[in-house]
C-alpha cells in the first residue's frame, strides 16, 4: 500500500526509555488504537506502535510499561519490548517486525491465501497452546480477535501481535472495542463480569471457529437485519440474546443460504469431533462460563482431527475425517469434488506411561512427530525439526509404501507372522497391516488396515 501519511513523519527520531535511539522509516499500517511504523534501531529494524492521541491514556501507558517489564520471551508473540515516551501528544512501544510469511485472517476469508486443512488445524492448535501459555502465567489476554492473530498458510505457525491489552488476571482496566470476540456476559456488562481466563475461552472458541469455518458463529439470519453499527442490535446478537448459527434446538439464527454460503460449506466439511465442541461452547457455553471448552479439550480434539486428515484420491484436496473414538459413519464425500473418500491405513501409537493412544491416518507423505510419542507434550510441533517417521513410496515400485525412520535410534519391527527386523536411522520398513514397531523410549506403534 502506498501513500500513507500518519502521525509520525519518516526520519522522526525518538528515544525509547531504554535509551535506544529510534528513527522512523515508514508507516506499515493503521489500526484501531494506533499506527505501526517500521523503525531503525541499533539492534536492526523493529516495529513501533504509536497510539492515537485518544488512545494514549495513562491507563494504556501503565499496561504497556507493565508488559515491557515482564520481559516475556516466547517466539509465538510479538511482545512490547521497550516503552517509547511521550512525543507530540502520544507514546508507543517497540516490538519485533512481523515476518512477511505471517498473514491475517481477513486475507484467509478473502481467499487471498493458498493454505490447507492441515495448516489451518495446525494454526488452531498452536493458537490454543499460545493462549494456554499466557494463561498459565496468569495473564488474561482480553483482546483475542482476528486482528491480532497471524499465521503462516504453509506451516500453520502463528504469531500473536498487538499484545498491548493483555493484563494480569483480575485486572479490570479497559476493554476491547469490538463485541464480536467478547464473552456475552461482558457484552451485557453484568456486574462482576470481568475479562479473564473464562471470558478468553469464549473469545478463543470464536477465533477457532473463524479459522476453520471462515465465519462468525453468531452471525446467521439475525445479522442481516442489523444496520450500520447499530450498537443495541449488536449487543443483542453478541450479548443479550446470542444464538449459535447451528444451534440444534433453535434454528431462528441459521445461516442464510445465499449470504452465508461459506459457513454452510465449511461446517459440513468439518469433523464431528470439532462440531461437538463448538456446539457446546456456543450453546451452553454462551450462558455458563464454567462449561466453556477448555484449552486442553481443544488441543486434544484438534490434534486428533489433524492426524485424521486425508487427501481425496480423486482431486487431492485435504479432508477432515473422524478421529478414532468418534462415531465413524461411512466415509463422507470429498468437500471439493464429491467423490467418496477412501481411508488409508492407520498407525496407532501407544505412548510411554501414562499410556495414551494416538491414531494417525497414513495417507501419502504422512508424518510422525516427536509429540506423537509423548503422553503430555508441552507443545506440539509439526516442523521438520521434530520429524520422527514418514511414509515414503518405494523408489522403484510405485504404490508400495514404507515407514522411514527419521530418528537417530534403531527401531524394532515385528510383522504379523512374528518375524522381526531392525530398522536403523534412514531405513524403511514396508507398510503392512499388523506391523508392530518399537519406537524406543517406551513408545510402540501398530499399523491397522482401517
Amino acid at each position: 500500500m502506498s501513500g500513507m501519511t500518519g502521525m509520525l513523519d519518516s526520519g522522526t527520531r525518538l528515544t525509547a526509555d531504554t535509551g535506544e535511539e529510534v528513527q522512523v522509516v515508514d508507516m506499515l499500517g493503521a489500526g484501531g488504537q494506533g499506527e505501526v511504523y517500521r523503525v531503525k534501531t541499533s539492534a536492526g529494524e523493529k516495529a513501533l506502535k504509536w497510539y492515537y492521541p485518544t488512545c494514549a491514556t495513562a491507563e494504556q501507558e501503565g499496561i504497556v510499561r507493565e508488559l515491557v517489564s515482564r520481559d516475556f520471551d516466547d517466539d509465538r508473540f510479538l511482545w512490547p519490548e521497550a516503552y517509547v515516551p511521550w512525543h507530540r501528544g502520544s507514546f508507543g512501544y517497540l516490538m519485533g517486525l512481523r515476518p512477511e510469511r505471517f498473514k491475517g485472517l481477513p486475507a484467509l476469508f478473502r481467499r487471498q491465501l493458498r493454505t490447507s486443512t492441515r495448516a489451518l488445524l495446525t494454526a488452531c492448535l498452536y493458537t490454543v497452546e499460545a493462549y494456554q501459555a499466557l494463561h498459565s502465567r496468569g495473564i488474561a489476554y482480553r483482546d483475542i480477535s482476528w486482528g491480532n492473530v497471524f499465521f503462516d498458510p504453509d506451516t500453520g505457525d502463528i504469531l500473536v501481535c498487538d499484545n498491548d491489552n493483555a493484563v494480569v488476571e483480575g485486572d479490570a482496566s479497559g476493554i476491547s472495542g469490538t463485541m464480536e470476540f467478547m464473552a456475552p456476559e461482558l457484552v451485557r456488562g453484568e456486574p462482576g463480569a470481568r475479562p479473564g481466563t473464562q471470558s478468553d475461552l469464549h473469545s478463543l472458541a470464536v477465533l477457532l471457529f473463524m479459522f476453520l469455518m471462515n465465519h462468525h458463529p453468531l452471525k446467521g439470519r439475525r445479522e442481516l437485519a442489523i444496520h450500520c453499527l447499530d450498537e443495541a442490535a449488536e449487543r443483542k446478537l453478541y450479548g443479550k440474546n446470542p444464538l449459535f448459527v447451528f444451534d440444534p434446538a433453535d434454528d431462528s439464527n441459521e445461516p442464510d443460504p445465499m449470504e452465508h454460503a461459506t459457513v454452510l460449506a465449511t461446517w459440513d466439511a468439518s469433523a464431528g469431533a470439532l462440531q461437538e465442541l463448538f456446539r457446546r461452547g456456543f450453546t451452553a457455553g454462551l450462558h455458563d462460563p464454567a462449561v466453556r471448552v477448555r484449552e486442553s479439550e481443544w488441543r486434544d480434539a484438534l490434534r486428533a482431527v489433524r492426524d485424521a486428515v486425508v487427501e481425496c484420491a480423486s482431486c487431492g484436496r485435504q479432508n477432515m475425517t473422524e478421529p478414532d473414538g468418534h462415531q465413524q459413519s461411512a466415509p463422507r464425500p470429498c468437500w471439493g469434488c464429491g467423490e467418496r473418500l477412501v481411508l488409508p491405513p492407520r498407525l496407532t501409537v501407544t505412548t510411554p506411561p501414562p499410556r495414551t493412544e494416538r491414531h494417525i491416518r497414513l495417507p501419502r507423505a504422512a508424518r510422525l512427530h516427536a509429540h506423537h510419542l509423548l503422553a503430555e507434550p508441552a507443545r506440539h510441533d509439526y516442523s521438520d525439526a521434530s520429524l520422527v517417521a514418514e511414509l515414503v513410496e518405494h523408489p522403484t515400485k510405485p504404490g508400495r509404501f514404507g515407514i522411514a525412520n527419521r530418528t537417530r535410534e534403531n527401531w524394532t519391527g515385528t510383522r504379523s507372522d512374528g518375524t522381526s527386523q531392525q530398522i536403523g536411522p534412514g531405513q524403511t520398513v514396508p507398510l503392512r497391516a499388523g506391523l508392530e514397531l518399537d519406537l524406543g523410549g517406551g513408545a510402540r506403534a501398530v499399523v491397522r488396515a482401517k
Binding site: S2, G3, T5, P106, R110, G177, L229
Partner: protein, 304 residues
C-alpha cells in the same frame, strides 16, 4: 489558538466515451465533512459489454447504496473520545462494511430485475441470482470524510488518490501488483465482498488532514501512456488548484476528461474533494466560502 471550521469543496464530471451509446459511469457526492454531515464521494464504472447490459443502472445502484451506507458510517463515527470505539469502527469498515455494501447492491439489482424482467426471457426458466446480477456488473470506488477520519473502499479498477498535507500523492487502494488482465473485479462477482479493498486513515491532527481526495474511473488512468500518468495528473491538478484556485480547475475539468476519454475511448469520470482551508491559502486572497451543500449531487447526462 484558532479554531478552524473546515469545509470541503467538491467537484465532479463525467464524459461519455467516444463511440459509446450510453455513459455507463456514475458518480455522486454528498455532505460537508462535518461530524453530523460526513462528506461522501463515489464513482462507479458499469462494465458495459453485452453480458452486462444493465451495467449503467448497476453503477448507479452502487453509487446510491454507497452514499447511503457511507453517510451512515460517517455519522456513526461521530466523536472519537472513547478508545474502544475506534477499534469497533475499524473492524466495521474493514470487515462488515464490504458485506453490507454488496448485500445492499445485490438487493437493489435483484429488485430491479424482478420489476423489469427482460422481454426475451419470457417463457424461459428464471435465471439464478448470479446470472441476474451479472447484467448489472460494475466497479465502485467510494470515500467518506469526517473531521477525523478518511475511509475509502474499492472494488474493481479505477483510482483513488489522496494528496497529503505535505503535497505527497498516495494511491492507498492501488493493488500491490497492477492487474494487467481484462478481468476486472466486480460487485456482481461471487462473494464480491472479498474483493473489496479498504483504506482506513484516522487523522487526529488538524494540520495533517489530506488536502485533496480524487476518485476516478479507469477511463482516466487508461488514457496515460505511462503507469505514473494518473499520479502526475493528480499532482498537476493539485498544482493548478494552488495557482488557479478551485473555480479554475472546475472550469477546466470537462476538457481534461474529454481529452482523456479520446485516448482511452472509455467513459471517464472524476470526483474530487478539496480541503477548503487549503484552497483559501495565499497567494490569492479569497473570500471564505461557506459550502453548505447537503443534497446528493449526481450527474444526469446518461438519463437523457
Amino acid at each position: 489558538m484558532t479554531v478552524l471550521v473546515r469545509s470541503w469543496d467538491t467537484l465532479a464530471e463525467s464524459v461519455q466515451g467516444t463511440g459509446k451509446r450510453q455513459n455507463q459511469d456514475w458518480y455522486a457526492f454528498a455532505g460537508t465533512g462535518s461530524g453530523a454531515d460526513p462528506l461522501v464521494l463515489a464513482v462507479a464504472d458499469g462494465h458495459g459489454s453485452a453480458a452486462h447490459a444493465r451495467s449503467a443502472l448497476g453503477a448507479r445502484f452502487a453509487v446510491d447504496r454507497f452514499v447511503a451506507l457511507a453517510t451512515e458510517f460517517g455519522r456513526a463515527a461521530g466523536s472519537c473520545d472513547e478508545p474502544g470505539r475506534l477499534a469497533r469502527l475499524m473492524n466495521y469498515a474493514r470487515n462488515d462494511f464490504p458485506r453490507a455494501l454488496v448485500q445492499a447492491w445485490r438487493q437493489e439489482a435483484l429488485g430491479h430485475w424482478s420489476r423489469h424482467r427482460p422481454v426475451a426471457d419470457l417463457g424461459r426458466p428464471e435465471p439464478d441470482a448470479d446470472e441476474k446480477l451479472t447484467l448489472y456488473g460494475t466497479t465502485l470506488i467510494g470515500a467518506v470524510v469526517t473531521p477525523w477520519l478518511l475511509t475509502a473502499w474499492q472494488v474493481g479498477d479505477g483510482d483513488l488518490a489522496v494528496v497529503g498535507h505535505d503535497g505527497s500523492v498516495g494511491r492507498p487502494l492501488a493493488p500491490a501488483e497492477e492487474d494487467l488482465g481484462d478481468e476486472t473485479e466486480s460487485l456482481c462477482g461471487p462473494q464480491a465482498w472479498r474483493a473489496v479493498r479498504t483504506h482506513w486513515a484516522p487523522v487526529f491532527e488538524e494540520a495533517r488532514i489530506p488536502r485533496l481526495v480524487v476518485l476516478s474511473t479507469d477511463g482516466l488512468s487508461k488514457s496515460f501512456a505511462s503507469g505514473d500518468g494518473f499520479t502526475e495528473f493528480v499532482e498537476g491538478m493539485d498544482g493548478r488548484l494552488a495557482t488557479e484556485g478551485f473555480e479554475g480547475v472546475r472550469t477546466a475539468l470537462p476538457d481534461w476528461l474529454r481529452h482523456a476519454s479520446r485516448y482511452s475511448g472509455d467513459d471517464t469520470t472524476l470526483a474530487a474533494a478539496l480541503l477548503h482551508s487549503y484552497a483559501a491559502r495565499p497567494p490569492t486572497e479569497t473570500e471564505p466560502k461557506t459550502d453548505t451543500r447537503t443534497d446528493t449531487h449526481t450527474h444526469t447526462d446518461s438519463e437523457n
